[in-house]
């Protein structure tokens, strides 16, 4: 018991020191620089278009866990769900030449990509599912990005703790071949717990990037004016890494 107490003092003292460093200006800059360094190394070692692994259908998980928002009750989402999302629209806006408002039917008529991929949650669990939807690049090309567009922001219908969910990626991940606007999971329309009727798949990053209940795709020049400026719901609220490839 005594040794445990001694270890506890050392452990807590060390942790407290780390907290001090993390909370200081230069400390938080250092931690941010480390994230950028990893992203740079990943981009250096990996082809821009390198694909996340795709699995045979036999590898699909017995069911696909829902996490975060699993049944949004805010706004007109429950009413839209009750009518089978018949009037759901996906806005494409921001720094684009042709703003668009797409129906689910519009999205289903685009060329589709089907991929069996693994979803890795930042917490540590994984699940494999088969996703179907058009590549985001098709939609962005149709909308024609203005040259000053640098990031794509995803707006969502779900509301967590009073704030709408949002996420963002840069153009490398936005144009990646496996980045799709998914409307089907395992051959069925996307279940509500997994983001019905539309969610993003950003296969080379962790689960919190894969925005569910997608209502709008917005091209922006900078993330400074999005939420609190860190590029996503969890990034703004809990300090999660914007680059979620680690």
């Amino acid at each position: 018991m005594k040794r445990r107490g001694f270890l506890a003092v050392i452990g807590a003292g060390f942790a407290a020191g780390c907290n001090k460093i993390a909370e200081s200006d230069s400390g938080s800059r250092l931690l941010g620089a480390a994230e950028k360094w990893h992203q740079g190394a990943h981009r250096l070692l990996t082809d821009r278009e390198a694909l996340a692994p795709e699995y045979p259908r036999s590898a699909i998980s017995s069911y696909f866990r829902g996490n975060g928002s699993t049944d949004p009750q805010n706004g007109d989402y429950p009413a839209q769900a009750a009518e089978g999302f018949a009037n759901w629209r996906l806005e494409v806006r921001g720094l684009v030449e042709n703003p668009m408002s797409l129906s689910l039917d519009n999205i289903r008529r685009l060329p589709q990509r089907t991929q069996v991929t693994r979803h890795d949650c930042v917490e540590g669990w994984s699940a494999i599912g088969e996703w179907t939807g058009p590549q985001l690049s098709l939609i962005l090309d149709a909308a024609k990005l203005k040259p000053e567009a640098k990031f794509i922001v995803f707006r969502c219908a779900d509301n967590l703790n009073g704030q709408d969910y949002y996420e963002s990626v840069d153009l490398i991940d936005a144009y990646h071949p496996q980045t799709i606007v998914a409307h089907r999971l395992n051959g069925e329309p996307l279940p509500v717990k997994n983001g019905a009727p539309l969610r993003m798949r950003i296969e080379r990053q962790l689960g919190y990037k894969h925005a569910k209940y997608l209502t709008a795709i917005e091209a922006v020049a900078s993330l400074d004016d999005i939420g609190r400026g860190q590029g996503g719901y969890w990034e703004d609220r809990s300090g999660y890494q914007w680059y979620a490839g680690i």
């Binding site: 907290n19 993390a22 480390a34 990893h38 890795d120 540590g124 699940a127 080379r204 809990s238 300090g239």
Partner: protein, 223 residues
């Protein structure tokens, strides 16, 4: 000649800082999802091979539950840790520390010789006839430098979704993403086990002299 080369001493202490921060922030990351699985996927209790206990706040970085801050620390230390290990391996091969002090001889693998070594350790007799390290030390340091520490890096790369498009073969070799995560945890605790025994033996062998020598280098031939 110094008992410990400058490169060894620098690596030893910097590596200690890296490993301690990585381990303690890793415990917070473990607290975020306290189950381990084999294969490519797993998320439910019935799929897990181990339910991991929750590590108390005094063991973790930060000293409260924050997965985001723990990941910040883990991400910060991962690169220095990997580059330092590479540095240690290159210098060990160049200055022949590896060949001279760590490679075991065939004679040392004879059961009688191993038993003799174990008995000497249990008697707390730390005189090594001849070489710098006895067999058990060579085995322990060899395992740590050659297996445990490199495996932390390989399993770490394998659970990084941004690295996987290039290192998918590594994930397959380790048995899938969740297997790699399990192995990351297992080797972390193998290192923790080494750390405990290492510190214990330093305490038994005279901690002041041992630590002084690991700082100043000491003199060859002096225990």
């Amino acid at each position: 000649m110094k008992r410990h080369a400058l490169s060894t001493r620098i690596w030893h202490w910097l590596n200690l800082v890296c490993v301690v921060v990585l381990f303690m922030s890793g415990l917070t990351i473990s607290n975020a999802h306290r189950r381990l699985y084999w294969g490519d996927w797993g998320f439910a209790p019935e799929q897990a091979w181990l339910a991991v206990p929750r590590f108390p706040d005094w063991m973790t970085i930060p000293g409260y539950y924050s997965l985001a801050v723990a990941r910040d620390w883990h991400i910060l230390m991962a690169w220095p840790f990997a580059l330092l290990l590479l540095f240690m391996w290159v210098t060990m091969l160049v200055n022949r520390h590896f060949k001279r002090d760590l490679v075991t001889t065939r004679a040392e693998w004879k059961p009688r010789a191993i038993w003799h070594d174990i008995v000497q350790h249990l008697k707390l007799n730390f005189d090594h006839e001849g070489g710098k390290f006895n067999f058990l030390q060579k085995l322990a340091y060899g395992l740590v430098l050659g297996v445990f520490l490199p495996m932390m890096i390989f399993t770490g790369i394998a659970i990084s979704p941004g690295m996987e498009p290039t290192f998918g073969w590594l994930v397959d070799l380790l048995g899938g993403r969740q297997s790699a995560r399990s192995l990351h945890f297992i080797f972390a605790f193998a290192l923790f086990g080494f750390f405990i025994v290492h510190v214990l033996l330093v305490l038994l062998a005279g901690p002041i002299g041992q630590i002084r020598d690991m700082i100043t280098g000491g003199r060859h031939g002096e225990a």
